[in-house]
Symmetry: C2
Subunit: 325 residues, 2 copies
């Protein structure tokens, strides 16, 4: 089993370290936060300074996992370019375009496939990390035209070892999708929180489930939300424009005829479809990775809402959703 070097030991990096160790791999980490580093050391994990960690990665041909917030990615990748320039490389950052750009700039000879585990919780830091954070979660591993299959498999195998299912898609499609289903929800929650609070104590005293659910993520730490949303600026702009178009149409309908049917029916249909995917059955299939265009085959799995759930030699076992009638 390939050894793993995790750079950054917060909630996500710490959970990767724990899960990879639990899977039996040789794993070490490095952390910019001394609290995170001390926490990991106190529990008996191997923590080195960043230079030593990356040198060891180069010596052992380890998979390097970048698990720092987006603003710190450039600095880490400069180090990787210096000390582990041809290593296998992945990351767990929530946007993929800016990371891919930085890899091309600072560590262009690494064997890279980007990653994004769709898991989290409201606490952050090593103390919040667990080896089971990714159990049954979706974990995107980017499958672009230029992604080499061996690098993709190494990143995907780490996700599988962490208990996740692997969703293959392109960098652009990932960023567009998470703008819709992760970053736009944060923007709309912020808008709702502000409009609600503008109603003063009476409005807040009357607020119940719909307001509470609709604003929950507005309670997240603003700096984390900003790093995530601002890091996906282009795709989020498209999603916000779609939302503005739909909200403007609702406004127009309300002002003219008073009828919100089109808005409410479309939203209901979207939620019903989402529920259908969540409760879908799973059909098993195999993708032959020796075929003419295995990356395209893998991307189709992601486009259909499916996941890679394991490897058997040159076959990838995939699970595809089967919606109830």
């Amino acid at each position: 089993m390939r050894s793993v070097c995790v750079v950054g030991l917060g909630l996500i990096g710490g959970s990767v370290l724990r899960a990879a160790v639990a899977a039996g791999r040789d794993v070490w980490g490095t952390a910019g936060s001394s609290a995170d580093a001390q926490g990991a050391i106190a529990e008996g994990f191997t923590v080195l300074d960043v230079d030593a960690a990356l040198r060891r990665a180069a010596e052992q041909d380890a998979l390097v996992v970048v698990a720092v917030p987006l603003p710190a990615v450039d600095a880490v990748l400069r180090k990787v370019g210096d000390l582990a320039p041809e290593n296998l490389l992945t990351d767990v950052v929530s946007v993929k375009g800016p990371v891919a750009d930085a890899v091309a700039k600072y560590a262009p000879s690494t064997r890279f496939a980007g990653g994004h585990p769709m898991a989290g919780k409201s606490e952050s830091g090593w103390q919040a990390s667990t080896s089971t954070l990714f159990t049954d979660a979706a974990w995107v591993v980017t499958a672009d035209e230029e992604t080499a299959l061996p690098a993709w498999r190494e990143a995907a195998q780490l996700a599988l070892d962490c208990g996740a299912g692997v969703v293959p898609t392109t960098t652009l499609e990932h960023d567009a999708a998470v703008a819709r289903i992760s970053h736009l929800p944060h923007v709309l929650a912020a808008v709702l929180g502000a409009v609600g609070a503008d109603g003063g104590p009476l409005a807040l005293a009357l607020a119940a489930g719909s307001f509470s659910d609709g604003t929950r993520v507005a309670g997240s730490r603003p700096e984390l939300v900003l790093a995530m949303c601002e890091g996906n600026r282009a795709a989020l702009l498209d999603a916000v424009d779609e939302a503005l178009g739909r909200l403007g149409a609702a406004r127009g309908a309300l002002a003219s005829t008073g009828a919100l049917g089109a808005t409410v029916q479309a939203g209901h249909a979207g939620r019903v479809t989402f529920d259908a995917y969540r409760s879908a059955g799973r059909a098993q299939a195999m993708v032959d990775l020796t075929g003419p265009d295995p990356m395209e085959e893998l991307r189709l799995v992601g486009a259909r809402g499916g996941r890679v759930v394991g490897f058997d030699g040159d076959l990838a076992a995939v699970a595809l959703p089967v919606l109830a009638d």
Copy 2:
């Protein structure tokens, strides 16, 4: 204890019937839905046809509670105007302006104060009703310039007997507040549900907590959401315009500087204030209902986020929020 006639035995009306019976009152109901009527009869509650129920209300000077969806309110109030024209009257409909207008038109001699219990669940109908639905909930009883204190007290006492705390406010302020914290959340959830589903299977497969929370109420029955939102058209239009302004500002910031700080910070502050009200301590106070303008005193309680929690002769016991530092 004054007897109570509940018109409409769905989730809310059925729960009022059960709670008022549990409080020891003489209560009977009537239902347009035979399933709701049969359900209540099967459990031993008194259910009459609508004419008989309202005639009995007139004979016993009962409090009539209108608990039908907004589109059915006019027809019920015509009956009330015919058969119980001078009765005490309240309602449990989620918008207050249209109900007040209909009362003025069809049952102008009733002793009316509008009501709105801020409680619900996703199921509907008698089968979903419970005697504890309103426990600790906020229950608005409208306190307008023209509202007579005795009528207000009767409606408020029913809310108290059902286990709720009474929030006094005007019809207009109620409708503006619920537009912000109840109806706008439904519109934004619908917008988010539609934008998310437009991302196809990939986006829905990656969607997790933020999308699920943000679209939960889009799963509600569209006809109920439409009746609620369309019935509060004018106030909802104002709230949607505020949301459009804030979302447009976010869009502009994203397009120009890429910085969402103002949006995210305002939303975070709103959510933190909401949480502060939810976890606030309560200071007890008394309002003397024999003072020069008791309705204004009561409205101030609502404006401060407080509730009437009981009556002691001509004193109203109120609980006012005390925010932690």
